[in-house]
């Protein structure tokens, strides 16, 4: 077992345990903290895959910005006491578990099929020797081939910004009317 495999299983196990903790904790704060653990483990997996830039963005954007937003809203709404009654009926839960297991079986089946397909295996061995996925390559692609999608992304962020301001503003106007 080489170090890469050991690290893969370590990070993979941590991210799986974190993900299961996200959906099993009653309190949203614990779920959010487990999600941060999962994000860090996935950043480790990205580094294993040679995607250093994506790993850094994962830690900064996901584990940093997005999770701070989550924790901020959880604390703002003070949800700890309310979420305890959030359980659903046993029949629905059993149905959800069955559907989820089916999806897992499908996913594993597809992946196992991929192992047995010869051309996928050969493509994998051919490509790992010539890895050109450095930050330099990403930057070059982002500002040449993917320039239009990159600019559209800024429009999405602008739309999100305006949307959030409109949502919050309407809320405060209604409060003024009530007062």
């Amino acid at each position: 077992m080489n170090p890469e495999q050991i690290l893969f299983f370590l990070f993979g196990a941590v991210s799986l345990v974190g993900a299961i903790a996200v959906i099993s904790f009653r309190h949203p704060i614990y779920s959010a903290l487990s999600l941060i653990v999962t994000f860090f483990a996935q950043a480790g997996l990205f580094i294993l895959l040679g995607a250093h830039f994506v790993a850094a963005v994962q830690v900064i954007v996901y584990a940093g910005a997005i999770m701070v937003l989550f924790l901020f809203v959880i604390m703002l709404l003070n949800l700890g006491t309310l979420s305890a009654k959030g359980a659903i009926s046993g029949k629905l839960k059993g149905f959800a578990v069955i559907l989820g297991l089916l999806l897992a079986i499908e996913g594993v089946y597809i992946a196992v099929n991929a192992i047995n397909t010869p051309e996928v295996a050969s493509a994998e061995t051919a490509a790992t020797e010539s890895v050109n996925t450095t930050t330099y390559n990403i930057g070059e692609l982002l500002f040449s081939k993917y320039l239009l999608p990159f600019e559209v992304t800024s429009l999405i962020l602008l739309a999100a910004l305006i949307g959030v301001i409109v949502l919050v503003k309407r809320e405060s106007q209604e409060e003024n009317e009530i007062q």
Binding site: V54, A123, R170
Partner: protein
């Protein structure tokens, strides 16, 4: 590690996210599960990008992250305003469109 191991891990993470959306009724936890699914997709993107020796997959991961950030900002704003109206974020109790 071969590509398949990463794809299996990605499928498992995605499945956990789906199960979370189905069994949890807390809107914030449902959002976290959506983030889990987006991350599983990101993992598959990066693994395939490495396997093909091309950086395009990582570009898509960056776009997915930008969309996820926008989605979380809007979604949490909606949750906050729903909470102000209804005093709950249980998605089963928020079942009418009329404010």
């Amino acid at each position: 590690m071969p590509l398949e191991s990463y794809l299996i891990l990605s499928a498992l993470l995605f499945t956990i996210g789906v199960v979370g959306v189905l069994i949890r009724r807390n809107a914030i936890i449902i959002f976290m599960c959506i983030e889990l699914m987006l991350n599983a997709a990101n993992l598959a993107f990066v693994a395939i990008s490495r396997s093909l020796g091309e950086a395009s997959g990582q570009i898509f991961v960056i776009f997915v992250m930008a969309v996820a950030a926008a989605e979380v900002a809007i979604g949490l704003a909606i949750i906050v305003s729903v909470f102000k109206h209804r005093q709950t974020i249980n998605v089963d109790e928020v079942n009418s469109l009329r404010g």
